[in-house]
Subunit: 404 residues, 4 copies
């Protein structure tokens, strides 16, 4: 071995090429390797309460866990189509005041009669791009695809029991024909399913199309793990609305603000969000979603897509305040991915959202939670207790959460 090869070997993370790689011992061996390399003993990381044998499919080179504190907020009354009743929402976060703030919003919403939630539509995508000889060829290719949608659907759906191909959106730039395959999914997030099904569909197209085309399985418009305007418009995951009528006297009592002041401020922030080119003209959907995602084994990278939102509100004649937030690309799962791991599953179970048939319910809980956070933060900003509460609750101050 050359010196470089020796050095490389020295830096190679220990690993075995079979299922025994997912064992206490291998995790410990890797921690020991890291200790040797970095001098750091990963004692806490090495403390976990499950058997690593459950981990294949979730992680590689396992060394232990991040222990992320979970706080509980609620009860939150939800009057949805799938979620009914009072929910206690687990939020895994390290940002002080987050749980307290969402909790306050949940109290308001619940006392106002709860949150109405609606899943407007759902679809998960994979969007290959086909490269054609020129723009005319690309257009003709697109027409051929439209004519053969049934066969393409059959090819795609042969790979999965869960997903149905809803339709294929077509978008052309020059000689490039981007096909956005939209699938229904059940209770998994669906990205892997769509990848596999679309690969099969593309291969079928490649075989059957009489002309000459090439393709790349993702042309950038999926847009996986990325916010985009196409997601805002055309949905990715679930498009979910949470809406509530905030009663004037309760807003005053719990939040210390007047509906008309909130609504006045809404005009200002709508202008600000449009000016800034923001992905969300509400307050902080990402906060509640990230915390709920981590607690329940969602793919936290989907915060990129899921945090987008559109607020629509009206001041009612009786002085109450109608408030809605629409999450156009909320991506959640109740099976597959990290949902079956130890703590994650328990948090889902606590919401009665673990396993098949539960993703719609969970999506509604997510949206309702977001709305709670919106009402709380918007009120705090207006009422002037935003910074003080962070001073009091945030940043390792030795105090109880008296404001809850």
């Amino acid at each position: 071995m050359t010196e470089t090869e020796v050095e490389r070997a020295r830096l190679r993370v220990p690993r075995v090429e079979d299922a025994t790689d997912y064992s206490y011992d291998m995790a410990a061996e890797r921690r020991e390797f890291l200790r040797a390399q970095t001098g750091v003993e990963l004692t806490h990381v090495g403390e976990y309460s499950f058997d690593p044998a459950i981990l294949p499919g979730n992680i590689e080179n396992f060394i232990g866990v991040a222990q992320v504190p979970i706080g509980i907020a609620g009860p939150l009354q939800i009057n949805g189509e799938y979620a009914h009743g009072d929910f206690f929402v687990p939020l895994a976060t390290t940002e002080g005041t987050l749980v307290a703030s969402y909790n306050r919003g949940m109290r308001l919403l619940t006392e106002c009669g709860g949150v109405k939630t609606t899943i407007v539509e759902q679809s998960m995508q994979r969007a290959p791009v086909f490269l054609c000889a020129d723009a005319t060829a690309a257009r003709e290719f697109g027409r051929w695809v439209a004519r053969h949608i049934d066969s393409i659907r059959a090819a795609a759906e042969a790979t999965t029991r869960c997903g149905k191909l809803i339709d294929i959106g077509q978008y052309q730039v020059g000689p490039l024909r981007y096909l956005r395959f939209n699938y229904t999914m059940r209770d998994a997030a669906g990205q892997n399913m769509t990848g596999k099904a679309t690969l099969a569909a593309c291969e079928w197209i490649l075989r059957e199309y009489p002309g000459t085309v090439r393709y790349i399985l993702s042309g950038g418009i999926d847009t996986d793990k990325k916010h985009s305007q196409i997601n805002m418009l055309l949905t990715r995951g679930r498009r979910v609305v949470a809406e509530a009528v905030l009663r004037r006297e309760l807003l005053r009592e719990i939040m210390g603000v007047e509906p008309q002041d909130l609504f006045f401020a809404r005009q200002v922030t709508l202008a600000g969000a449009f000016l800034a080119g923001a992905a969300n003209n509400g307050a902080h959907a990402a906060n509640g979603l990230a915390a709920l995602f981590i607690a329940t084994g969602q793919d936290a990278a989907n915060i990129a897509e899921s945090h987008a939102g559109i607020t629509y509100s009206q001041l009612l004649d009786n002085g109450d305040y109608y408030w809605s937030i629409t999450l156009p690309s909320l991506i959640v799962a109740t099976c597959g991915g990290g949902t079956g791991l130890a703590t994650q599953r328990q948090c889902l179970e606590m919401l009665d959202c673990w396993g098949t048939g539960k993703a719609n319910k969970f999506a509604e809980i997510c949206a309702a939670t977001v709305l709670a956070g919106e009402t709380s933060l918007a009120s705090a900003v207006l009422h002037g207790d935003w910074v003080p509460s962070h001073e009091r609750l945030g940043r390792n101050r030795p105090t109880g959460a008296g404001a809850l």
Copy 2:
């Protein structure tokens, strides 16, 4: 008590109003409360290896932890201004293949001589909006603010030892004058600091300004926990570039692709991202960032801002491939927030990134990690092993991570 009041009391999460709320017992009492409400025993959630007394400032209504599996990727050679040498990167995720994919990219980059990283600029914001009588008054108000920048700075900086007010961007819509306060921050993310300092500055303005104005502490252009074009342009957190020259023979050998094919595909995805209105014209920055953020106690909600990115690449005359990604709004901390918690601190320490004076280094590691993921996924998509590797590594298949 009325029936409703009784019911409400029954649903109230147990809590005590002092520091003893952060104790094993109170966490257990809340878990027991949840068991009573939901029937779910939060056994795994209750397993954690630290004393809850460390948690004030990080969470309220603590019940336990999410145990998120960590895999280790690397070594990744970084040639930055703050990060030098070979790093092993902890990635907390439940998405199979993620660690393997980033690991593969790190191998490529390391064998190509490493990643060069540069922090181009940094600033953290709070952006109040001042409401004036009309647009003329708002413009004059803005001029007054510009003339009194020194006093405003003094008022703001009096509240903090860490932040310096760099400048105040001014943006007007109608009679609204949005002021975007840009601060340097040190090793905390800085949102709380900017809130407190800007509140003080606004109160100073309110007292001293001879005219009549009102303000709202956030007018929507900060844009906290939200992707936005203003962040793309003007930076939020740190603007960090990771760049590398991928050598042709190593791309072939490790990734099985040709540079010119990658570059060809780049043209296609640039068109796709522009068409879709995406926040990032690269592949999947959110994946690596979310995993690294969770492992190291970052605020995962900042994935909303941090996942934005701009890829710029060129095919070199010698056939090698220059690749850069610019993260315009990467928000990280090495002290404050969740960085001091048990597992989080150990993961930061493993990177020699815990505590003061380390945030720049950690930001460089984040950007380098993102670049590794970009090269790996883009190659996989092109080479056709994207779906197959997810089939092999993802979704709970009982197999070792042979592709690492």
Copy 3:
């Protein structure tokens, strides 16, 4: 009469309430009125070569004309599906160098064998929004609309001989259901047709829908006279591609640049356009389009939508340069609107584009013209003759257009 009423009467523009308002005399009377009010003799404005009796439907309160200079550029060889052969393109502009620059690009493209043009798709919209009781009701309303598409189509199409309702895109925010009616159009721009047809469709819906809804005929997503990402994605007017292969030696000879330098610079401007959040990542489509629109009686306000564009290019192995531009929302007409007026019609006739059956041809000419301008300006910027040529040709310098 009160004093105010007297004053108001004094300021009232002369007008008669019948067709004789469109006469030489009434135009003169209004000019005389304006002379009395402002002291300015509108002598040139009063010089026009047509009978004002042709103007009803195009203008109100007619006083005369703007005389906008037209320059001629070409020949431009187009190899389209509707436009074949060499075209001389009339450009009405007051910006020096514009004609010269487009002319130069046309020479390059023509010598390279011409421009290939493709109309990828077409549709014109009107997008009402239906206001429902809540989000669930809005979703159900949307499903009802989808089920009754045939009846809705019948109601819409009963109002027009030209337009066919392609489909109705549905987009929901809170309790609002935005319906984007997409129509084929023939040779008029189609906005009026879509307005009338959609009004009929909405009234039908209002009558027939069993639930309670209200609607606003435009909810802001049409997006008429406004650039938008929805137009980029889903087309407004015609989506047209112009593409050409620029031969290396001709680029050198005519433009003084190398293909690889242009392509290198393309990477830079793609990054810049993405960074800036631009509506077009090419150079200056608006210039050629505005000039051609004014010459030919198009609605110049549609520059807002029509100037959007996506450039896609590749450097070929033989050193030539493939260049395409896609105009996703090009709005043109060859009948209706201003196309039948005196000079406008002649300019259209000169392109053999006046009247029915010509809009596709004209759209192809527009796109080909845009591509000519792109190649010329991009080359000029690179070659360094951009500013000098503006110095020489622009801004009232007394010199011939030697650079043509």
Copy 4:
């Protein structure tokens, strides 16, 4: 000559290489050439009332004019800082109802006491990009630029009597440093001035910078003749606000709508515009601007930038309606370009806006005109007379403009 050369010569547009190219005869010769090529007699095009000798700097290959009908709208009372009093606004358009609609809005605004206008800021850009060895070098280059701003300013300003360099915005992507030079301009639009001045500045930088850089004079973020978010935020041309309080009884009387209904609808269209990713969340700024631009010799291509807008409104306690529109990138001139041509100058003179010292006044008139159009169209959409009025006034119907 080869056959191709003969053919090319045959198709060459007649031209002479000196000032006599701008003559009646040469224009006629070119029209005759076009007649020979196309069979079309450009009789109307050949009718114009000025001496072509005035045209150098405005057009090349002059053949005649487009005669665009002008209608007059007004009076419009403006209470601006530069525009005071009642104005009659010339609108060159071929879109029926446009003048009538703007006229109606002007009547409303005038009866409500007029429009208040404010120019909030102004700047015109040229944005070169400097290409550096890597991102670190680019950042250091940027710092050097900042340190040498005085010398760079001197180099830039030496080329112009009109423009002052305000500042240079710096934006980095990878190794690319985009510099956005912001200049004040006087009464010309300023694009040529900024090009020349920035070229001089860049050449100075190239000479003086101790490191190695290259540059391209435009890197795509100017963003000339293109809408962009950077323009929305940072202004291009003039940022102008028009605002008015619409009195309830006048809205009822003149528009037939209630303020609260307009405001209700505003919430709906704000949601729609955000959803669609629109450049303007108002109604149709492009309509009025295009018509006014053509009448007054503005560069109509700047509709691309100028049509952007942000509406901000509030319903007042007394039932009146405060309405503002902010045009962030309004580009106008009152000297240079087409402003001195025959009809164009007369139209500017009629507004007392021709020549030096008038651009601010003209910008205010533009913004006030836009607001008039907004109030009129929004009311029409709501009141239901939008389509009917287009039926009555539009599309060559033989009827007087009775609705004015």
